[in-house]
Symmetry: C2
Subunit: 314 residues, 2 copies
């Protein structure tokens, strides 16, 4: 379990209000940023301190891994210079009874701030302009929030589905798609069906792939037409409905592939994430596939698999 | 593949219009009916002739197995004497260019009608009052529709998701639930979340079940909180949110359990449906479980498992 600190800047209200964090993949000039890479390192159960307007007003628990999604519509004109694709990290937020002003305790906390990628300037106590999601120590969190701390044991009735914010990101994509005047009715219908692996997309994938690449299962009812480049990340209806952008997978393999716990190389090598519990990988017969491979892919499939390895597999 | 004939009586419009067949489980007096039992025998890919007002006007392809659902709202006052739970069988319907009147060809078809459970009286050519879904021979279908017959090769663009009618049945249950003035807001929210195995229901199941009964997987992200008695068939919010009415299952096991291809006895014996392809059962490691068992269940769980074996397992 890790502890994080986010400098929301202008998007605190949208992010806390809707239960997530969102960042671009890279800086506007194309450079890598550790603060954005951290979005992919954060894992379910991690804590996040929300810092905005010089106060920590909320503490959150990460609910799911980050997914590649379009920029939230609610950001409006904020971050117009950001690329439209970025990481959405689902977070369950709880307001602090009394917001904490780190600057007021600067003496105590300065030495607890990370020496690299600090969210706060240790001399001034102001937020570091370039920072977004920064890793901090448990010690810092304990000092800031006070001990003992039972803030984050949510009453069960408050537990929201972990994927609510991802679903609502998908809903927005669907909405913009159905409202697009450039698409005809059939394409709209089929693009929406494709979200659930149904309709034309499934029929096209089934022409290319007849069996699950890992289990070998062929019963149609037990196979899901799964997008390689995620539906929500597709740039066009053509990508959403491209048979080469799909695999027929058994439901648990679909889940592993979608969660980025496994991926496939063009030559049929099976990749297994470090994050995938080895014992469970063995229980699901995935370790075997590591040795046997899953058969090669076409160039068109390899193109989408490349996206999967970059933005989904982790 | 089998061929069926349905005497819709008063519900032709609703059933053909919405892409399904619906029948009660038993007759109003509680007696078994072969015409209703046939709803569970029909399987994806089977053909159905739709007979109403003395004409065959549509031919359909069964899209999915029958599920236990409440009576469709659109039936209105039709069949008020039926029990509220019955079989919904998803069917993709295509209108015949020219409807066929079986009575006009009675001489030719009389000898092709089944001797038992016939949909039509072979002497009069009128529909058999008691009949609903009757099995007929390929010969009868060929004679009625004419040969060669390519009526049922649907253009891909017309393919609707196999589960659309089941989903819309679930949507109706959700609607009646959220409009129920007797339920408070929290119960409504949690009942809706339970449909997807989320929220309070999941938390309660997780207190009782920590690992998948078949695979032994324990990673929370890879486990689905699956209802034993299906969500749509639950009689109350209490049943929908009862932790004893759930199992934590890996996604493919959840699918098999939900589709009624596997079930569990109270003593932990694993049941595998005749309909489950043995080769695929082996590929998914389910054949092993047949010998090892899956561990016993509590009385409260056994109560729900009994429903599963009667109405879901087939």
């Amino acid at each position: 379990m890790r502890y994080w600190w986010v400098n929301h800047n202008q998007t605190a209200k949208q992010e806390v209000g809707n239960g997530y964090l969102w960042s671009p993949v890279r800086e506007a000039n194309g450079a890598r940023s550790q603060f954005y890479e951290n979005m992919r390192i954060a894992a379910p159960g991690d804590w996040v301190l929300s810092f905005a307007n010089s106060f920590i007003g909320h503490v959150g628990i990460v609910q799911d891994q980050a997914r590649i999604t379009p920029k939230p519509e609610s950001f409006g004109s904020v971050g117009v210079y950001w690329a439209n694709q970025g990481w959405l990290l689902p977070v369950w937020w709880k307001p602090l009874a009394e917001p904490v002003r780190p600057k007021a305790n600067l003496k105590t906390i300065a030495s607890l701030l990370p020496s690299k990628y600090s969210p706060l300037n240790p001399s001034t106590g102001n937020g570091n302009q370039k920072a977004y999601l920064a890793e901090v120590s448990k010690d810092l969190v304990d000092v800031l929030l006070g001990l003992p701390n039972s803030l984050l044991t949510a009453p069960i009735a408050e537990l929201l589905p972990a994927t609510a914010s991802i679903q609502s990101a998908d809903d927005l994509v669907e909405k913009s798609l159905t409202e697009d005047p450039a698409l005809d009715t059939t394409v709209k219908l089929q693009s929406v069906l494709a979200r659930r692996g149904q309709g034309l997309f499934r029929a096209r994938v089934a022409q290319i792939e007849q069996a699950c690449r890992i289990t070998g299962v062929t019963t149609p009812n037990l196979l899901i037409a799964s997008h390689i480049k995620p539906w929500r990340a597709c740039a066009s209806a053509a990508e959403r409905l491209d048979g080469a952008n799909g695999l027929m997978l058994t439901p648990h393999i679909d889940r592993l592939f979608d969660d980025g716990l496994i991926s496939f190389k063009a030559d049929g090598e099976v990749l297994i994430s470090k994050r995938f519990c080895k014992i469970d990988a063995d229980r699901l017969g995935v370790q075997d596939a590591l040795h046997k491979g899953c058969g090669g892919f076409t160039d068109a499939q390899a193109h989408y698999l490349n996206f999967h390895q970059t933005y989904v597999f982790w």
